[in-house]
């Protein structure tokens, strides 16, 4: 082997290891149970579009997507932290929104995803969650769409439709699955 190729080979192995570092680190941190600060069930309403590159997905409207902040002091252009808790039914609720990183409790770090609408009353903020898409296989996409549409549009439905999300300690998140009455959407459709 030529000496230049030896140098190239060494550099290549180094660059390859660096390139592999991010995916490996991501998988390890997401799989590590100790990193999870809390698991939350978010109520959803959904519809099913199609993305030419990424295939079928449910575009989800995650609830609650509005929050009234009493002191109205939030710079939405900066990074915001959404403090999360659980309501009496077990669903996720927003406890507060700040620009300062909370010292304890599960929180979701959001960048440019909180807006103040001119048509909303003073102090209200609208939240666009970063997990508003749920990817589906084409085998169940149409059926899932119909089922989710039925549940979310019915006013007297007793079915529970929610997205389960693990919130990590660093404010990041991992989507677990979309559930209907405690079963994943796939299990629900197969029964």
């Amino acid at each position: 082997m030529k000496p230049t190729n030896k140098i190239r080979l060494a550099l290549y192995i180094l660059a390859f290891a660096l390139a592999l570092a991010y995916p490996v680190h991501t998988v390890i941190s997401l799989e590590n149970e100790a990193n999870i600060a809390g698991t939350f069930m978010f109520k959803v309403a959904a519809y099913d579009p199609y993305d030419i590159m990424r295939g079928h997905y449910m575009a989800l409207r995650i609830l609650p997507d509005k929050f009234k902040k009493e002191d109205n002091s939030l710079d939405v252009r900066k990074k915001c932290y959404l403090q999360l808790g659980t309501d009496k039914d077990g669903f996720a609720e927003i406890l507060g929104i700040t620009n300062e990183k909370p010292e304890n409790g599960p929180y979701l770090a959001l960048n440019g995803r909180i807006a103040r609408r001119s048509y909303e009353p003073e102090g209200y903020f609208t939240i666009h969650y970063p997990f508003s898409k749920f990817y589906l296989n084409e085998k169940i996409a149409t059926q899932a769409d119909a089922e989710v549409r039925r549940i979310s549009s019915a006013t007297d439905s007793t079915d529970k439709l929610y997205l389960q999300v693990d919130i990590l300690k660093d404010g990041n998140f991992k989507v677990d699955n979309l559930y209907i009455n405690g079963k994943t959407i796939r299990q629900h459709l197969e029964q």
Partner: protein, 421 residues
Amino acid sequence: MNNNKWFLQELQVLRSQEVIDEPTELALRKYYEKRLAETSGINHIMMCIWIVGIVSILSGIILFFNYNWDSWSKPVRLMLSSIPMLCGFALSLWALIKGKGQKFLEGSALLTAGGAAILIALISQIYQIQGNLNDYMTLVLFIAIPFVYIFNSIGLLALYIIGLFFTIHYIEAKAVIQLIQLALPLPFFVFHFYRRSNYLSPLRFLAMPLCVFSLFIGKFPEGPVLLTLVIFLSLGIQEGQFLASSKNSGRNPWYSLCSLGLAWTLIILSFVDNDNPFAIKGALFNPSLLVCVLASGLYLWSFLARPMTLLKWFLLGNVLFCLILTCLPEGLYSCHLFFNIPLLCIGIALLLDGIQKRLLSTFNLGLLFIIGMLAARFFDMNISALSRAPFFVGFGVVLLVGNLKFSKYLRNTQEAANETN
């Protein structure tokens, strides 16, 4: 028509007019018939069929994986996702250890970087992590750039430069990171330009999108972006003018593109009525302005380094005019019609340059500037029809009289030349 085929036909003409003798004709015919067989279009078609076939099979496999994706467990999906990157690793090791040629090295670079991009995208899909496109591309580009240098890969560099455009974002742009990403491929350009390597021609093509990307760094306010665009386009024409004089200008990607770009920009600017398009107030600490200063320095260096021509002076005048406009106080902008002057002057300079160097493409570009200016003013509702009418009639008369005089001058010159012979 194939060059070899054309030459074989030409041999008969050369022989019939006794430009070459019979043995020469036979020797040349034998040589070019052999080359014709080697470079036959059949080889090219077969190669294309091979590529389309392989791509088709791979696409089918991807769709098969796609259909069954949800049925597999997470570890299986992660393993499948890493296959392209591992293939890239294997190909790279084989190519480097066996000392394979540049085609294999290009393939290695593309497969490794592409494999890494696929792996990251699929991990996001598996864990339903929904980042945005500019963050994803930022990461992928940082991963790809070392492979450009390690494999000396022009193909991956081209993809890198295209990828840069996906990091542009109006709100979430990270100017410092974008500046670093802009700077990372520059040593590759400098090295190959300095060494006058085989990559010179494709690098000339790639330099332009790199310059264009630099306009959209950070939150790109309009004023500095437009000003830098005008400077870059003027620089492109200026440099292209001298490159075109030694080669066919069609082979120089800057000249035609920049001329078209500048004509189009000036035409649009000549319609802007109230707002000063070059206002830089409030953008003094923006990275776009830094790029603008660098572009101005490059332009000045190019202006001083090249011989003086009429076109260069007109381009400088245009750039200075735009620079003066940046200092104009708000509310005073009403100079949009002044943009007709550079359109006309640069058009005339290009026409003359084309005539002088006998380059039809340059002549046509000059014509484009003038026709563009005329068409823009014809549809310009800011000027009354009554004012436009005499201008068009007058301009037409000037053109016809000028053409008559020029034809007469050419005829006289031709006659004088004939008499001398």
